[in-house]
């Protein structure tokens, strides 16, 4: 049965005819306590799913904003146990909000696959997004993830072309649809024709589909969510944390600021 919190959440969103808003922040940026407070504020302001980045020394799929966030988190001494602690606190406070980790495969592999997935389960984590574990290498981790009931979230991109025929039917939870080529980071405009892109994916599965990479304004979000089931926003939020750190705001103030930013994305748009 589908009792992963991701499935439950998307079933509810569909029943309510709503789209998911999925904010991303790097865990430990600028501190693990700040991450906890920011996550709470984001949930209180309408986030449906929370995605925490696990800080990494060499984030080769990320743009400069998230690279700097990873550097701040590592400089603050963030370790995997800290990331797991934040996840446990958030999922204890909000058991209906699925928490996902976005991380590089080396973080799982070196820690130990079984130990890592077991820690995910113990700390309430519902899924992992691992950009450098493509379909071809998934079976290295999927049996372990299945054993603990953790979803490996599949990604597709506009340059996946006919690869979607194998990727999409196997996806679990939701499909992470990368909006454009390149790395994470804000975009002014998108070259992708989203309706065609989503139609091509809908042919293979009715799994919820969320668009991410480069979506930075509430206007972009409202335009793009029409053709999918949810929107992931990362760099635009991380940039707000960066400027708050730069302005020496307290952890509480940073959380309030991020809550307010998330609200601009989630509040009903009234003409």
């Amino acid at each position: 049965m589908n009792n992963n919190p991701i499935d439950i959440r998307f079933q509810k969103l569909r029943a309510d005819n709503k789209k998911a808003f999925i904010p991303f922040i790097t865990a430990g940026d600028p501190s693990t306590n700040a991450t906890y407070l920011i996550a709470k504020a984001m949930i209180e302001n309408g986030a449906d799913v929370i995605e925490f980045g696990v800080p990494y020394s060499d984030p080769s799929a990320d743009g400069p904003v998230i690279m700097r966030a990873d550097e701040r988190a590592l400089a603050a001494g963030t370790r995997l146990t800290d990331v797991f602690d934040v996840c446990r606190k958030v999922t204890t406070d909000y058991p209906d909000i699925p928490v996902l980790l976005l991380l590089y495969y080396n973080s799982v592999f070196v820690y130990g696959k079984d130990k890592f997935l077991s820690a995910c389960k113990d700390n309430g984590i519902s899924g992992l997004i691992i950009p450098d574990l493509p379909f071809e290498e998934r079976d290295e981790l999927e049996p372990t993830a299945d054993r603990y009931g953790i979803y490996l979230i599949s990604m597709v991109t506009p340059t996946s072309f006919d690869r979607i025929r194998t990727i999409v039917p196997e996806a679990k939870g939701f499909l992470y649809c990368v909006s454009t080529s390149g790395v994470t980071g804000e975009r002014q405009t998108f070259e992708t024709h989203f309706q065609e892109y989503m139609n091509s994916l809908n042919n293979y599965s009715d799994i919820p589909k969320c668009l991410g990479f480069g979506i930075s304004t509430p206007e972009q979000k409202r335009a793009m969510e029409k053709c999918c089931d949810g929107i992931i926003v990362g760099s635009a939020l991380v940039k707000q944390i960066e400027s708050a750190v730069h302005d020496h705001l307290s952890e509480t103030e940073i959380a309030e600021k991020l809550g307010a930013v998330v609200k601009t994305f989630t509040e009903d748009f009234i003409c």
Partner: protein, 398 residues
């Protein structure tokens, strides 16, 4: 069936954004491999442009000093002064075949960047090279050389601002412009099919050594010695000899300030299994998989990992990987310059140093081949400073 595996190593741990491009590359490469015209064109490039075959030079004074026969495989005599051109001409030819108009590359010492810029000029392609800012400082002459050849050099300031960061940035750039861009990887690293492609374009080194020692000495060498960072010249040297169990394959890793310090770049001697830059291999990293900030005097060996096929050759005991410190490499740099009149690249000096360290293991009738992967002109200034003989602006007075 998993692709591109060497024992447990290798694979395709790349972002989905790049997977189609990797599939496309593999398909194009397989077609090229079965096309005799491609092989003929590549051979012609090597002969007419790179100046191959490179000399297998009998180092008489060195041999007399050590008491056994030493041959130097003179990759330093190739056009652009290093073995890198062998691989770059092959990949650039593949890029043209695939209709790509733009080459990108990462570079450490600058030799691969120079070779890529050269191939781009030769074939009329545009070229962008990513280089760590620290390496740009260490190898400023090569930066200008690339610009002179029409390439644009992009400074990478992330992390340690060296080869690993340049590689990450080249991967990012490839994912931004995957449709018109060919990523020319400079070593036997990265996601499949790169380690295989680069090894196959570098095996010309070992193939020439094999046929020439058979022809001249009617036998195979006792041992082959080469330096490893990512490991392309060593892989090219070793590969044709893997089944010749009597031939010792020995590689020198950069031990920087020593294996008892944290400032080294010897992946096999000091690393653990991990996944980075698209491959599973052996890396210098902490207990949570954070990649270590490595160090070597040699920018070309200053990389926290090693190619997956090397990791496998080490596991099965077919090749030996031994550390060589900065000091030992600099001593060998000077020694070879004086005894043979050949100034090796500081990378290659790590291989020469290993020859000197292991000299007691060889007997009078042994035939040892050392691959001199590149020329040392680019390093003269840095070594002069290391010895306190040069300051910025010229020679110190005695």
């Amino acid at each position: 069936m998993k692709k591109g595996r060497y024992g447990p190593y290798g694979g395709q741990y790349a972002a989905e954004t790049l997977m189609y491009a990797l599939d496309e590359l593999e398909t194009a490469y397989r077609q090229a491999q079965s096309d005799p015209k491609f092989a003929a064109e590549y051979k012609r490039f090597l002969r007419e442009y790179a100046g191959r075959p490179s000399l297998l030079y009998y180092a008489e004074r060195l041999s007399n000093a050590l008491g056994f026969t030493v041959l130097l495989k003179r990759e330093d005599l190739n056009h652009t002064g290093a073995h890198k051109i062998n691989n770059v001409l092959g990949q650039a030819l593949l890029a043209v075949r695939m209709g790509k108009k733009r080459l990108i590359a990462e570079t450490g010492a600058g030799q691969h960047g120079v070779a890529t810029a050269t191939a781009a000029a030769y074939l009329g392609l545009s070229c962008d090279v990513f280089m760590g800012q620290e390496d740009m400082r260490r190898q400023s002459l090569n930066v200008y050389r690339m610009e002179l050849l029409g390439a644009q050099v992009h400074a990478v300031t992330d992390g340690t601002a060296t080869l690993k960061d340049a590689t990450s940035e080249a991967l990012r750039e490839w994912s931004r412009r995957v449709s018109d861009t060919f990523y020319v990887i400079g070593s036997v690293v990265g996601p499949h099919p790169y380690p295989e492609i680069v090894r196959n374009f570098q095996r010309v080194i070992g193939d020439e050594i094999r046929s020439e020692t058979l022809e001249r000495y009617n036998r195979l060498p006792t041992a082959l010695i080469a330096c490893v960072g990512g490991g392309s010249n060593a892989m090219g040297t070793f590969y044709p000899f893997i089944d010749d169990k009597g031939v010792r394959l020995i590689a020198s890793e950069a031990a920087g300030r020593g294996m008892d310090t944290e400032t080294h770049a010897a992946s096999i001697s000091g690393g653990t299994v991990g996944v980075f830059h698209g491959m599973k291999s052996i890396f210098l990293q902490d207990d949570e998989g954070q990649i270590a900030p490595v160090y070597s005097i040699s920018a070309g060996l200053d990389y926290p990992g090693i190619g997956p096929e090397h990791a496998h050759l080490h596991d099965i005991g077919r090749a030996e990987y031994l550390p060589v410190t900065d000091d030992e490499a600099v001593d060998a740099f000077e020694y070879l310059s004086r005894i043979e009149g050949i100034i090796p690249a500081i990378e290659s000096a790590h291989a020469v140093a290993l020859l000197l360290k292991l000299k007691d293991q060889f007997k009078k009738d042994d035939l040892v081949v050392v691959t001199v992967s590149g020329r040392g002109d680019k390093d003269v200034e840095a070594i002069g400073q290391y010895r306190g003989r040069l300051k910025v602006g010229g020679m110190q007075s005695e």
